[in-house]
């Protein structure tokens, strides 16, 4: 007979759930509000979401403080795992979301923001990602991932035009396949170790001395395929450009940051112990994957005609670049990953926001896509400030010092050097040069070409409102003055990563 379970509430550490519960509660609140009085203005929902996220952020600060004191906390039957990685990545997730949500207050009306459900789904998605990073249980990771993904598919589709449906369907279908891979991979791990918790898996495998290396590799292959999809590693990246193009620029920018950091954290938890245990195969495959992803994505970005697609490929390349951190697997590299991603979120969100404020509803004649390069031709003549800011983001993405992303790149390459991956460091560095070309291409269009005759005047801020401009302003300041905050950021990140045992 089953014996009754006695659990004390204290041992559950329910506090660990709070940061995830806040967005869920917020989402439910929004739904409830809508139920009582529908047809409210979107600004109310935006501010509501912002408030919820701010509270969430505050709680994250709280749990960061707890972590600094007590170290890693397990909670709720040891399903929740609040370590440094979880906190850092939640900071990024919530922080980026805070920056994203005001982008809904556009001048023009777009379909998705007319729904209160949009904001509810958005908050659910955040909760999903938060769960995903705050556990080492493969089941919870899976459920969190799917919650977030399903919400995300819907958010994309809600933009309500052909391309966004197409994007959503593509993303969804491939996501379903990736989910299949994920469950298969988990199954193999489970078959190998009888456990679905990563640290348990690690200890069992170590105890068995990796006797079933073939099985381990198969599990890794399916996990790689599944996270390769999430992190858009070549050749699992094919959804990325289409989905970015199909979704609104703001959401695309968001997608380039938040889902990836969540996936990175899981990948870190899952792959690093394997690399450290001497699974050479994984090291080799990751090496190849990193190099191919960086390089090929850069090469494809070169030939794009649309800025948003270009940025899509560029974020694939950045993801590949950051993936190197997992390959290197030192404290420095893992810190570099977070540092990079924090800096990247400012810059990339900024650049996508620049696209977002220039979004027209109908394409004028001669403009082939929403954000074709032609649209930005001669922008410095019509709107020098917009051009300068955009150029700033491009330079930062290209890794020109002293702008934000340079420091991330520098630290990441340094970690490669320190970790003994000199050739990788060189490849990473040279890839930045290749990437320089397509970022420059936009600068060239903006600064060195004449405006294309026929396109309707200055479109750089057709969609601008104060809140959008504020977000861009924040991103700009973050990009330029990153170096001032870098020391504290670095110390903070390093302490958190180090104390989590990575």
């Amino acid at each position: 007979m089953l014996s009754p379970v006695n659990v004390s509430i204290e041992s559950l550490n329910l506090m660990t759930l709070v940061p995830m519960l806040i967005p869920i509660v917020g989402a439910l609140l929004i739904l409830v509000v809508d139920m009582f009085k529908s047809e409210q203005d979107k600004s109310m929902y935006v501010m509501l979401s912002l408030l919820v996220l701010s509270i969430d952020f505050a709680f994250l600060l709280e749990s960061a403080g707890i972590f600094e004191q007590n170290g890693t906390v397990m909670g709720v039957f040891d399903v929740m795992l609040i370590d440094g990685l979880a906190i850092l990545s939640q900071f990024i997730i919530v922080g980026a979301s805070i920056l994203f949500i005001p982008l809904a207050l556009t001048k023009k009306r777009f379909h998705e923001f007319a729904y209160p459900e949009f904001f509810a789904l958005f908050l659910f998605m955040i909760a999903g990602f938060q769960f995903m990073v705050a556990t080492d249980n493969l089941i919870l990771i899976f459920v969190g991932l799917e919650t977030a993904s399903l919400a995300l598919y819907t958010l994309i589709a809600m933009h309500n035009r052909n391309k966004s449906f197409e994007a959503a369907v593509k993303y969804f279908t491939m996501g379903a396949l990736a989910a299949g891979f994920y469950s298969f991979g988990s199954m193999v791990f489970y078959a190998l170790t009888g456990s679905v918790e990563i640290n348990q898996i690690a200890s069992v495998l170590a105890a068995n001395n990796y006797a079933d290396i073939g099985f381990v590799l198969i599990a890794v292959v399916f996990m790689l395929a599944s996270f390769g999809f999430k992190l858009s590693m070549v050749p699992f990246h094919t959804w990325t450009p289409d989905v970015y193009e199909g979704s609104s620029a703001a959401l695309a920018g968001y997608m380039s940051i938040v889902p990836k950091i969540a996936a990175f954290v899981v990948a870190m938890r899952l792959f690093e112990f394997l690399i450290h245990s001497g699974v050479v195969w994984l090291e080799v495959i990751l090496y190849i994957g990193v190099v191919v992803t960086m390089t090929m994505a850069n090469i494809w970005a070169l030939v794009q005609n649309d800025v948003k697609r270009m940025l899509a490929y560029s974020s694939i390349s950045h993801a590949g670049f950051v993936m190197a951190a997992i390959l290197i697997g030192t404290t420095q590299s893992n810190s570099a990953l977070f540092l990079y991603w924090i800096l990247f979120s400012f810059t990339n969100l900024g650049s996508f926001s620049m696209l977002w404020i220039s979004r027209q509803k109908n394409l004028p004649k001669g403009q082939s896509s929403d954000h074709s390069y032609d649209k930005f031709a001669g922008l410095v003549k019509t709107s020098p400030i917009a051009a300068s800011i955009m150029a700033l983001f491009m330079l930062s993405l290209a890794g020109i010092p002293p702008f934000a992303l340079f420091w991330g790149k520098m630290y990441m390459i340094s970690s490669a050097v320190t970790g003994g991956y000199t050739v990788l460091a060189l490849i990473m560095a040279l890839n930045s040069a290749v990437a320089g070309y397509y970022y420059l291409k936009l600068i060239v269009y903006m600064f060195m070409k004449e405006p294309v005759v026929g396109l309707a005047g200055d479109v750089s801020a057709v969609n601008a409102t104060l809140s959008l401009k504020t977000i861009i302003g924040i991103a700009t300041i973050g990009t330029i003055f990153a170096f001032l905050a870098l020391n504290q950021l670095l110390e903070f990140v390093t302490v958190f990563v180090y104390n989590s045992g990575y």
Partner: protein, 101 residues
Amino acid sequence: MEIGLNHYLVLSTILFAIGLVGVMRRKNLLMLFFATEILLNSVNISFAAISHYYGDLTGQMFAFFVIAIAASEVAVGLGLLIVWHKKHNNIDLEQMSTMRG
């Protein structure tokens, strides 16, 4: 003839491969979704089998959640298909390549 864990794993793998065939082969999105269901179900067999042979319930848990996930996916997937169908009156993925390159 004792049926061991490996039997189930092999069966599961074969089913998974069939699912993959379906995923790659189907152009009709609805039927493509069928194939993804096969993928998830094939894994469920393994989970149940491993759970049985190891005497551990975690596998069943996993399978349980996989079923939940599969159901949710169906809802969202069908929603997407309906939207698409309303606009285009088809659910053929060949029609779905306006974005490329």
